[in-house]
Amino acid sequence: MKPIYMDNNATTRVAPEVVEEMLPYFSEFYGNPSSMHTFGGQVAAKVEEAREKLAALLGAGPEEIIFTSCGTESDSTAIWAALRSNPDKRHIITTKVEHPAVKNLAEYLGSQGYRVTFVPVDGQGNLDLDYLYDHLSDDTAIVSVMWANNETGVIFPVEEIAARVTDHGAVFHTDAVQAVGKVPINLGENKVQMLSLSGHKLHAPKGVGALYVRRGTKFAPFLMGGHQERGRRAGTENVASIIGLGKAAELAAAHLEEENKRVKKLRDKLEKELLARIPNAMVNGNPEKRLPNTTSIAFEFVEGEAILLLMNEFNICASSGSACTSGSLEPSHVLRAMGVPFTAAHGSIRFSLSIYNSEEEVDLVIEKLPPIIERLRKLSPFWAEHRKKASCAC
């Protein structure tokens, strides 16, 4: 049975056009782009073509793109580069709701003598901008704020933040892994200095990412060795995947409107119908400033893993902010930072759609999920209690 895949913020299907573009570069054109011979050189030309396509999607120059192995590598590279090239500055600002790729690195740096400020969010997941600006100082080396949150889809005003931060003389980096391909990005018109992205979130394969570094930004490589990527990222290029990422960027530009119209409409339908059919359910995060494909819905008094496994019986794929799926016992740090109560945080499910989802699939989830929640609530001691209280109030 074909899965009903609504977990596109976790990873996406590689687009068939991308696969097709990549295939010749495994066994036919397998040369090393660094080689002197034509056989390798033609591969180098193709890598440069991919760079141009990705740059075009971002409104950047090709020389501002460094290919990496993943979003995490891009994030690490950006943050270390800012710290290494500003050794006299010992302060980092980031947010409480970053992806672990940034959050855990920031916490580590905090244990190594750096001062780290984690900017809080409000109940809707909006960033406390005043808090951020109040903590900017001459000692601030880098401010790293995600473009859009992976769990709730809430979008942060990174362009506004970038302007303030760079005016202040600090480096501004954004983890845009969830945003690229879903919201329009034009780096020619803002002050973002570094931007991370990941291939497999936009229908390219896993194992390839990129870091945008604005021309003139001080930089120090994370991986040292060969001269690849103009000495900014050593290591033989993941050629086929880079070519795939180039193609995916081209497709993303072409599909941006569909993402924001058809996919958004599907997401809105899914959300509206689920909320209408399931009592004690609510959306996590600012419903206005959100990625078009993402909805995080809290179902009170039930636990996320149980919901996921029952959905799994129908081959519906989503994810949860619940503790039980992650190996840690605390519910998602994002939902907790937003102050989502435990009653709701444990039972939050994220649906993230893509252009490959159909209305039939959305309808199926709308049909299957309400009985699942009802079934689990019948099992839950808190649901009966809650109903009792509710009827008292009447």
Partner: protein
């Protein structure tokens, strides 16, 4: 994806004995919404103290629901005394095993059963025994000790898997480790006793510690360290490589090099940098 046995899946998808017995003889409630799982167990006995019916309501993940379901099957037909002997291990075994991260689900079953039996016997609600160690999940030292002994737990991670303690903020990890050490009969601290070292011993130990513990760490970050002299309790060192130019070198020197030497050589040492 958790690896559940077919039996866990089966009990999760088709839980037995769901509900609440209205005029129950024994009622046991454990857990809370904040913890992420909770169980209410009710049972009824006949005139021979044999459990004739048991029902449960559970908020939690698949294995919490399966453990509760299994528990009701296990106790129906047993006398209260027999049921009282059921351990969390037996609940897990009944299900063909649980992933180690999910053992706390079987512990929750055992705890609910214990409470329900105490309620049936008219024993006063047990006061929380001991002191809360894990604030996040409200786990006491008595509970941790019991879990460590019953399940032969040897690490904080295992304790978290079984009774959740330490799975939240992590502030209690030291205390949990101390309990594990005490229960397993390990020396409370590995620190060498602060016996008086001769000068030769001290210098040798400083050298050894630098070589074995400190230098490899600094080398990882592209730095290095050289021992210049030991003058009484003052250790004079030279920082090299990336450490020499690093703004954080003073932090490294005091918080890492000095702390390590204090820990492994003697508490009175002071480290100073020779430039």
């Amino acid at each position: 994806m958790w690896e559940y046995t077919d039996k866990v899946k089966e009990h999760f998808l088709n839980p037995r004995n769901v509900g609440e017995i209205e005029d129950a003889d024994g009622v046991g409630e454990v857990g809370s919404l904040a913890c992420g799982d909770a169980l209410k167990l009710t049972f009824k006995v006949d005139e021979n103290e044999r459990i004739v019916d048991a029902k449960f309501k559970t908020f939690g993940c698949a294995s919490a629901i399966a453990s509760s379901s299994a528990l009701t099957e296990m106790i129906i037909g047993k006398t209260v005394d027999e049921a009282a002997k059921i351990t969390n291990e037996q609940i897990a075994e009944y299900l063909g095993g649980l992933p180690k991260e999910k053992m706390h689900c079987s512990v929750m079953g055992r705890d609910a059963l214990e409470k329900a039996i105490a309620h049936y016997r008219g024993q006063p609600e047990k006061k929380i025994e001991g002191e809360i160690v894990c604030e996040c999940f409200g786990v006491t030292d008595v509970q941790i000790r019991r879990a460590v002994n019953e399940n032969k737990l040897a690490s904080i991670e295992e304790v978290t898997n079984y009774i959740k303690a330490g799975g939240g903020c992590g502030n209690c990890h030291e205390k949990i480790q101390a309990i594990i050490d005490a229960e397993l009969g390990r020396p409370a601290e590995k620190k060498p006793k602060p016996k008086r070292l001769t000068n030769i011993e001290k210098i040798r130990l400083v050298q050894e510690t630098l070589e074995r513990e400190i230098r490899p760490q600094l080398l990882q970050d592209g730095g290095n360290i050289e021992l210049v002299d030991v003058d009484g309790d003052t250790v004079l060192v030279k920082l090299q490589g990336s450490c020499a130019s690093c703004q954080m070198s003073q932090v490294t020197l005091k918080d890492y090099v000095e702390a390590k030497l204090k820990e492994l050589v003697t508490d009175s040492l002071v480290v100073e940098e020779v430039r």
